[in-house]
């Protein structure tokens, strides 16, 4: 199996197949991140195409100082922010499609608990969707995607200290929306 370094070298030399193989390995996860950040499948798909185009056009500037996925995600976060900015300038806002809330709850849950979990999950998705983009990005990268603070900060394009500050503020905001009682009961 070809290594990432070799695929990067071929892509930098203009080999589009190598680029597709390289970027394609991260496509599903990248799309999921965009879906979380944008909350709309159609828009996430559109932005994902733009991310791939920009990455392809910029692959010559990728020098391997960071991981390829970190570099790709950084483009994705920038493009998502650009899309959100455009959206905020539109007269009528596009409603957030909280697709995540429609995902099935764990099959292990009892029926009554499933309903409560679905409700809580929808509230959580809404609270995340309502966060200002930098805060939402912090939670998605660090808590949902499980990236390290260093990786997440690099992708968000801020220092680790600034990133942590955003993350903590974001969690406080979500906590305030959901409420301690609900969280403690659900966290049981």
């Amino acid at each position: 199996m070809e290594t990432e370094a070799s695929l990067v070298a071929r892509a930098r030399a203009g080999d589009a197949d190598a680029f597709e193989q390289l970027a394609g390995a991260h496509a599903d996860r990248l799309f999921a991140v965009l879906l979380r950040l944008l909350g709309d499948r159609g828009e996430a798909g559109d932005v994902a195409q733009e991310v791939m185009l920009r990455a392809w056009q910029g692959i010559g500037r990728f020098e391997g100082r960071s991981d390829f996925f970190t570099w790709l995600y950084r483009i994705a976060v920038n493009e998502a922010n650009r899309a959100l900015e455009k959206r905020s300038r539109r007269p009528a806002d596009v409603p957030i499609d909280t697709e995540a809330s429609q995902l099935p709850a764990s099959a292990r849950d009892e029926p009554t608990r499933q309903a409560e979990n679905r409700e809580l999950r929808a509230a959580l998705d809404k609270a995340l969707a309502d966060l200002p983009p930098p805060y939402r990005t912090a939670i998605v990268l660090r808590d949902v995607e499980g990236l390290s603070t260093r990786e997440a900060a690099e992708i968000a394009g801020v220092s680790e200290a600034a990133f942590k500050s955003r993350l903590h503020q974001a969690r406080l905001k979500v906590r305030a929306v959901i409420g301690d009682e609900t969280l403690i009961t659900a966290g049981g």
């Binding site: 599903d28 798909g45 195409q49 791939m52 995540a100 499980g146 903590h168 959901i178 301690d180 969280l183």
Partner: protein
């Protein structure tokens, strides 16, 4: 402990619950919040709520099972990339 000190501790603790559960406080600050939370029902519950919230968000996963749309490289190809 003066009322002013307790109020300061409470406001500061409420702002640092995420730092506390993340382990992002220095030793003295961690001890300060922990000590305050032992006497303050709101902050004690705040710590439990923050821990539950972080677990819950982490449990959201990255929408595993979601697949990227088939045309994700369409613009790359249209640009002459393939």
């Amino acid at each position: 402990m003066s009322l002013l000190r307790r109020t300061d501790d409470h406001q500061w603790s409420q702002q640092h619950l995420s730092h506390y559960v993340e382990g992002d406080l220095g030793r003295r600050a961690h001890r300060r919040l922990g000590r305050h939370a032992q006497d303050c029902v709101d902050c004690g519950r705040g710590i439990l709520a923050m821990r539950a919230l972080v677990r819950m968000i982490q449990g959201l996963d990255g929408l595993q099972g979601v697949r990227a749309p088939a045309g994700i490289f369409d613009r790359v190809r249209a640009s002459g990339g393939n």
